[in-house]
Amino acid sequence: MHSKCKTSWLIVALTSLILTVFAGAALGRSATTLVVAQAEYAFTFDPIFNWADVNRISRLAFDPLLQYDAETKAVIPWVAKKWEISEDGLTYTFWLEEGITFHDGTDLTASDVKYTIERIVALAEGVSRFLENVTNVEIVDQYTIVLTLAAPDSALLEAFPGLYIVSEDGVKANETDGDWAQAYLQDHDLGSGPYEVNLHEAEQRTVLNRYGSYWRDWGKNNIEQVVWLWIAESATQRLMLERGEIDIAMQVSPADLPDFEADPDIVVHSFSTPIILMTSFRTIHEPLTNVLVRKALAMAIDYDYVLEVAYLGYGQQARGPLPSTAAGYDPSMPLVAFDLDAAKELLANAGYPDGGFTLKVSYESGQEDKVRTLEMLEQNWGALGVAVEPMAQDWMAQAEMQLDPNSEPDVYINYIWPASTNAAYLLYEFYSSDVKGVYDNNSSYWSNSDVDQLLYAAVATSDLATIGNLVRQAQALIVDAAPAAWIAERPYNLAASPYVKGYVYNPGHQETLDVFHMWLDGKP
């Protein structure tokens, strides 16, 4: 009897516990909270790193000197209300807005801008490579600052949207062992941006609250709080979006897009990005030294197949190494047509009427679009008599091989993933002689002195018309030499609830959200 009583009480206790857990496990929802799920965890909020995962927070919590406008494809004033570049391109003067405060209440002045640059240079990581040309930073007065360069650099202006200003006082107060507050910035912000970090649970969520003293007009923005959830699985993000627990899912599986499109409660936002999927031909390997062979292989690529199968109809075919989001993009440049017969003829003219050679093709097996591209190449190049030997690698192994002129792969399926919105800099970092064996970007290991001269001239001037002209000439030469086959502009898709308004993709801040210009219209 006694043991029966004990058992009964145990059952009652367990049942109560279970009911407690199940009953009303409701979620707090607020009509002014934007809840975003994304898979790439930002291990730090230090804006020195311009990777997308960090930039998602930086963009909310910090302000840059200048901003990049996606519509005009130009930099616009931000913290710097105006600027001037000297005739020789060596001196940049910035006049700052007054009345901007950091989240700790201190004023943002020229001293903070100078300190930010010094910090970036001292840490020598992340965005520091954009400042390698800066030799001196001088404070003229509290809101005026002058940068001196060793050589003209037209890409510098477009680097500033990614250089966020940190509070000098904040860094100094939170430094540990001379680390420039790097440890502190892993969980906190020291910015002046529209939102400030309120809570950070590692690998779980980051909550940012509206900064009430933000210096700009909020416009339609009614978002009081932004909650970033780190959800690794796209399947989980989908479930949460469908149940209304999140407002935006930033990592959606392409396979889910048709269902999202069909769902009246979900809106798919799709944009072309500056990221271009391509096959880079190792121009130092036979027979890829022959431009006719390269062009033949490019003509044997089924571009529509990649768009339909890898990107499910999103994105668009690339017209060369410059994406459509870049200033200097030439929409009149012809698309390479998929034509196997013409490809065979060209290959025959090159001395390979039946193909008869093997190409080792390096690709990242974890990237769906690259896998689909490889499958297509195996078939189509096979039709030319060119055998494909796949080499599955991760990006680091690929990077090492791309640097080494003696490495095995003949072809790399990779991306143009620009670090800058500046078209001249983009072409320079992928197709100039200087980066052969230096950066992993020039995987074609290709060089052309005429292209080099055009790009040097484009980087050395700040006149936009001149830059555009030089870039177009350089691009034409690059396309004609076909060191790569530029396949598609990779689309960026995210899925959101229909009450999320104002989202615009910005190539200067890839895969981030400009929450400041967004609003919630009728969130329940």
């Binding site: 043991s3 516990l17 407690t20 857990v21 199940f22 496990a25 409701a26 979620l27 707090g28 929802r29 607020s30 909270t33 809840v35 965890y41 291990f43 730090t44 790193f49 990777w51 020598a124 990581e125 992340g126 520091s128 490579r129 790097q182 440890a183 892993q186 809570l199 649970e201 590692a202 690998e203 779980q204 969520r205 909650v227 959830l229 780190w230 959800i231 690794a232 699985e233 399947a235 989980t236 479930l239 949460m240 469908e242 149940r243 627990e245 991760d394 990006w395 680091m396 192994a397 990077a399 090492e400 640097l403 993933w417 670090a419 230096v438 950066y439």
Partner: protein, 335 residues
């Protein structure tokens, strides 16, 4: 005597640690990957990569790095994470409570379900309990845990909406004041009952998923152990004496039958921690498993080694505790 035995076992741990560190050091350095490049990120200039390599001490010869690591390890220093640049010991301390919370919950669920199920299965062979036990065994052993996690999430969250999709707390719930790092314990300490309820609701699904393969093993082991014990002479004697079946099973049979499942429980603690990588990833649990997942993805070798060492330590200590527990379960066992 037990203390001497425990001390001997812990001494053995030192050799295990040396072996594991040597093996891991070798493996991680044989991989065709550059941790400095991984830490610097894509697009980093060669100079930035080299600067970082020097900053992280990765430009030193392998043997120097290894002996330096061992020397630091003796002082409790597990090195610096190449990803976060924080001490590995700090990172482990930060993420361990979440994993322990999940591990203990999974083991509790395992034992609360598996042992009674095993007993019922043994005492009622061929009937419903036995069939349920066999079904659990098949499911638990046959289905990949990652898939089970996604399926459970789909069912309980996506379709039924009775449990959260993941995370340790709801969006609108603030964590309790930090004491141990376990939200359950800290909520109780702080008297925050709503937080406790929310934390429990988030814990239930990942814990059930983690427990499933262990329930499969434990229930079948309990069953076979129980059947063996029930066939013993002293059980027949107990029944002959007119004792109730409940008394025969509960007092005479179960205690002896628990030796085998208890042994298994020690090993299961280690397995659960190992399985946590996949489950924590699906449920965004924020524990060691998730840390390990990030570390592997970013080639953060110091963290990978730290997690491996910690798991090894947990394994050894859990088995030691189980061995000590034997002495209480079975008075015949002495050390």
């Amino acid at each position: 005597m037990i203390l001497k035995y425990a001390a001997r076992r812990l001494l053995f741990l030192i050799f295990v640690v040396i072996g594991i560190t040597a093996l891991l050091f070798l493996i991680t350095n044989l991989l065709p990957a550059d941790p400095a490049r991984a830490a610097a990120g894509p697009g980093a200039s060669p100079q930035q990569v080299e600067n970082l390599r020097h900053k992280l001490g990765l430009d030193q010869p392998l043997y120097i790095r290894y002996f330096r690591y061992l020397g630091n390890l003796l002082q409790g220093d597990l090195g610096i994470s190449t990803r976060t640049r924080k001490p590995v010991s700090d990172e482990l301390r930060k993420y361990l409570p979440a994993s322990l919370e999940l591990m203990i919950a999974a083991m509790l669920i395992n034992l609360l379900i598996a042992v009674p199920l095993g007993v019922l299965s043994a005492t009622r062979p061929g009937r419903l309990a036995d069939s349920v036990s066999r079904l659990f065994a098949a499911m638990g052993m046959g289905m990949p845990l990652f898939w089970v996690a996604l399926l459970a999430q789909f069912a309980f969250y996506g379709k039924l909406g009775i449990l959260p999709a993941g995370g340790r707390l709801s969006i609108s719930v603030m964590p309790p004041p930090y004491v141990t790092g376990s939200y359950i314990v800290d909520a109780v300490i702080g008297g925050q009952w709503l937080v406790l309820k929310d934390a429990l609701s988030h814990l239930l699904l990942p814990a059930m998923v983690m427990a499933l393969p262990e329930v499969a093993v434990t229930s079948r082991l309990t069953r076979s152990s129980m059947l063996e014990v029930l066939g013993q002479d002293y059980i027949r004697t107990a029944r002959s004496k007119g004792l109730s079946e409940r008394s025969v099973i509960g007092k005479h049979a179960l205690r002896n039958a628990l030796i085998a499942p208890l042994t298994m429980a020690g090993m299961q603690m280690g397995w659960i921690l190992g399985n946590s990588l996949l489950v924590e990833s699906v449920f965004t649990w924020g524990g060691l498993g998730f840390l390990a997942y990030q570390a592997i993805y970013k080639l953060d070798f110091p963290v990978i080694m730290g997690v491996a060492l910690l798991m090894c330590g947990v394994f050894v200590i859990c088995n030691l505790l189980i061995d000590i527990l034997y002495a209480y379960v079975d008075p015949r066992i002495q050390y």
